[in-house]
């Protein structure tokens, strides 16, 4: 295969349909960027699950008038319970400190909060998170110094269903956009084939192999996919630098949202770029097989 020949054909093809090529690259880029964002969110979700679900499943908030004995009785009961895997005690002071860290970006909120307003609590990790009702039964609300038993898992489930929804919506838009990109690629390739019908007709008549005739078109699409992928990568990098690292800096520092590190971007970018190239090439190949006589 004469590499120079094929490459120069690719270059001419892309130049001749410049506007279509740009449209092809942009739609592919947007689609891949959305796909990448979806993957970043998915990654964040799994990181968050690890952070939250492992740490806390049930919180036992104590009432303000709890006595020393009641507190120790609760601790003993937790020690003896076969359902409890682990627990930590958090005093009012500790609760306040965690609060100030979490909301360090909102000093007004911290200033207006009385350090005594936050309840002390036991944070309990269950052997099996689904055993929450048993714990709730063992520590009835409003008795023996217990103010409230709360299933944090329930709250987390709602939070995660929201995040999953965001991820699914992003990916759904990405898929629709990908469909548009593929149709555009198919159209561009048909146009390119029409523009070069003289060349391809002659190639066919002098006995050029199928591959030799088709490869320039397929490479053209793959190149657009590659450029779209690079564009999407740039988009992801900008999202990290300008949005995640800046706007979400507070919650990340406070440990509410896991940080998105460069490793994730470095893993996702080649995946979406590769997917873009592959799909574009396949779209071109299928188009040539179905619609164009080469």
């Amino acid at each position: 295969m004469r590499v120079n020949f094929v490459l120069s054909e690719v270059a001419t093809g892309l130049r001749r349909n410049l506007t279509m090529t740009v449209a092809m690259i942009l739609t592919t880029g947007i689609s891949l960027a959305l796909m990448g964002t979806g993957l970043v969110i998915a990654n964040m979700i799994s990181d968050m699950r690890a952070i939250y679900y492992d740490k806390v499943q049930v919180s036992i908030y104590l009432s303000d008038d709890v006595t020393e004995e009641q507190r120790e009785a609760i601790a003993t009961q937790l020690d003896d319970s076969p359902d409890v895997a682990n627990y930590i005690y958090e005093s009012k002071a500790e609760a306040y400190q965690r609060f100030t860290e979490q909301f360090s970006q909102q000093p007004a909120l911290v200033e207006n909060t009385d350090p005594n307003a936050l309840p002390e609590s036991f944070r309990v990790e269950l052997v099996n998170p689904e055993r929450y009702p048993v714990i709730a039964q063992e520590f009835p609300n409003g008795e023996n110094g217990v103010d409230e038993v709360r299933d944090e898992g329930d709250f987390l489930d709602r939070l995660f269903s929201l995040l999953n929804g965001a991820r699914n919506a992003t990916i759904a838009v990405a898929v629709v956009q990908a469909l548009a990109a593929l149709l555009l690629i198919s159209n561009t390739i048909q146009l390119a084939a029409f523009n070069r019908r003289n060349e391809t007709n002659i190639m066919r008549l002098v006995g050029a192999s199928r591959w030799y005739t088709q490869l320039p078109f397929i490479l053209e699409a793959a190149l657009a996919g590659l450029l779209g992928g690079l564009l999407a990568t740039v988009g992801l990098v900008l999202t990290k630098v300008l949005f995640i690292d800046r706007t979400l800096a507070g919650p990340i520092k406070a440990g509410i949202i896991p940080p998105v590190d460069w490793g994730v971007i470095a893993t996702i970018s080649p995946v979406i770029t590769g997917a873009g190239m592959g799909l574009a090439a396949i779209a071109a190949y299928v188009t040539l097989r179905l619609y164009v006589r080469l």
């Binding site: 004469r2 020949f5 002659i202 190639m203 008549l205 002098v206 006995g207 192999s209 199928r210 005739t213």
Partner: protein, 229 residues
């Protein structure tokens, strides 16, 4: 070299067959005129030989290979043994004369070394030495057809198919093209030429096959275009 047995070709859009039970044999090194009015089946005949289309029934053999059973990926190989020339030249307008000829070799993966040696040779043979760097639109019709012939012949095909190669040319220029085709024929290449030009057919006195409504109505060695013309 070329063998047709009871070949029929029916296009789905037409009730009448384009070729109707045609059988013929053309030997290696022959020069054959294919004549007949428009729509008599000449173009279909050439298309079938190139396996651009398959016959509805009957068998076609070119160079002892049966086209009917040939798989798609073998078609390029078949076409490398055949050269084609058309009435409208079909040159690449943005490439020079030499590049047009070289193109035919490049796309079948001939080494650059061979291309640099062979292209000037064939251009000299068709009488275009010194015009290698011209673009097709700087040439006369006759010269453009010579480029097309050079491109068809540069790979030394066994068969040269010419579809009205002189259709766009004046009689004098046509004469030159015919001399060139004769010269190519003398190298052992089988030439099949579809034409309407009775002057040429009458003056050459070669084998004439006439198609009429898709059937062979005449097959004559050393024939003329038509009786009583």
């Amino acid at each position: 070299m070329i063998e047709l047995q009871n070949v029929t070709k029916v296009y789905p859009t037409s009730p009448r067959p384009a070729l109707d039970d045609v059988s013929m044999e053309i030997d290696k090194g022959e020069f054959v005129f294919l004549i007949g009015s428009s729509g008599s089946g000449k173009s279909t005949f050439l298309r079938l030989l190139l396996k651009e289309d398959n016959p509805t029934s009957g068998t076609i053999k070119v160079n002892d290979k049966t086209l009917n059973t040939m798989s798609k990926w073998q078609v390029p190989k078949l076409r490398r043994t055949m050269g084609c020339v058309f009435q409208d030249f079909r040159l690449l307008r943005n490439r020079t004369v030499a590049e047009n000829v070289a193109f035919a070799l490049e796309v079948i993966n001939k080494p650059q070394r061979t291309i640099r040696r062979v292209v000037p040779e064939v251009l000299e043979m068709v009488g275009l030495e010194g015009k290698a760097e011209r673009l097709p639109n700087e040439l006369s019709g006759g010269e453009q057809q010579r480029v097309a012939i050079a491109r068809a012949f540069v790979n030394r095909p066994l068969v040269l198919l010419a579809d009205e190669p002189t259709g766009n040319l004046d009689p004098e220029t046509s004469q030159g093209i015919m001399l060139l085709l004769e010269r190519i024929n003398r190298t052992g290449t089988t030439v099949v030429m579809a034409t309407h030009d009775y002057h040429i057919v009458d003056s050459m006195r070669r084998r004439v096959i006439e198609l009429n409504d898709g059937q062979v109505s005449r097959d004559q060695s050393r024939g003329v275009y038509g009786v009583g013309r």
